[in-house]
Symmetry: C2
Subunit: 207 residues, 2 copies
DNA sequence: AGGTACGTAACGAACGTTGGGTATGTACTC
DNA sequence: GAGTACATACCCAACGTTCGTTACGTACCT
């Protein structure tokens, strides 16, 4: 009656998700087929259907893994910031979104590509909206801290500052993906710092 | 030898493009099929192949139409700005990108959705990169004017200011598409104005 | 009469999905 | 502790559908 657990079910699901990931990174959602995923992991479509009842379920799981990976991935900037609070943390959060290396570029490519299917599917659109809302709230927390520290002016509502900052990085991601030569890592960082400097103008700490 | 021109060839191509447009606005690029387009315009796939040799040709033409439509569409803000120069023109250019009404929301949805296929297809990616580069250059022209007028500080390179501004609106477009309730037109405009006010800080005109 | 415009129908390929078939391991029996 | 029963994991093959594409037929205008 107890599940014999001959193979690690969850581990296999992750393995499948990673294959989905690799297919998406190269061919986008238009090239995401069960056969392509199966071939990518050296298996057959029968294996896929054994772990996911349908392609849609597979897609949803892949997006969740992508989300979790984005949340759990190494955040070099945030870690270097340590337990710093306020503006330093805001900066770290923004930098960790950007496609500064090949891996995060691949992640961002998939994110951007997912907007096609997400915008055409109400449920996926809702989930995406929720993700970005949470990201803004997280950012708003750091911004509120920065305000308390006097690093940011109090004039603008925290929500607006967070929405603006997220807009800025999202757009920068898109441009960097299409023109990586024009937006190398250093320039992306410089643009963020320039942006934060502008936002920080009017703060009371450094004056 | 002269073509009898029983029907207006170019007009039909535009008609087809508009059908493509309508299909894309609802189902995204994942739902773009010849049969869907044919059904949308009350015709058959035979008509489509008569005007476009392949689906890819149809897709490329649709993207061109989208580009041209974005360039030629009514620009309420820019027109109201008239022949104003400098910062007013920068503001108008930014506002005319945003999904402030249903129609421009549909356009933006298609633009965002096109990033999936574009990122997976080198040629389309190159064309997209070129489009955004041109948009930045156009913006840079207005920014340079604003600098001459003393409306913007001279410290930051014009290219960077343009890239930053474009990043900001692109990201705002994405967030507004996914969360239209949280980003109504007024808030989008307010965020842009807030952004421009920050960028303008340090200018010499108002001091 | 002749060529253009377009519908009709069919092609092969690829899609998501389903249903066996075959190992391979665990659980129970004695 | 060997033998049986059984569930799991997976491959393999095929299903019906839908895709892009092609060939062919027909109506219409000059």
């Amino acid at each position: 009656m107890t599940p014999p657990a001959r193979t690690d079910h969850d581990a296999r699901r992750i393995e499948v998700s990673q294959a989905v990931w690799r297919v998406l990174a190269v061919h986008g959602f238009g090239g995401l087929t069960l056969r392509a995923v199966a071939a990518e992991m050296g298996a057959t479509t029968g294996l896929l259907t054994h772990y996911f009842p349908s392609k849609r379920a597979l897609l949803k799981h892949a997006l969740e893994v992508l989300d979790r990976r984005s949340a759990d991935r190494p955040r070099p900037a945030a870690e270097r910031a340590g337990e710093a609070s306020g503006l330093v943390m805001v900066r770290a959060t923004l930098l960790d979104i950007l496609p500064l290396d090949a891996e995060s570029a691949a992640s961002n490519r998939i994110w951007v590509a997912s907007w096609d299917v997400a915008l055409a599917d109400p449920e996926l659109a809702r989930e995406h909206a929720e993700r970005y809302r949470r990201a803004r709230e997280r950012m708003a927390g750091h911004i509120a801290q920065a305000k308390e520290l006097g690093e940011l002016p109090l004039g603008t509502p925290t929500d607006d500052t967070a929405a603006a900052a997220q807009s800025f990085v999202l757009g920068l991601v898109v441009q960097a993906l299409f023109a990586p030569r024009e937006f190398p890592a250093e320039r992306q960082i410089a643009l963020v710092d320039e942006y934060l400097a502008r936002v920080g103008d009017g703060g009371t700490a450094g004056e």
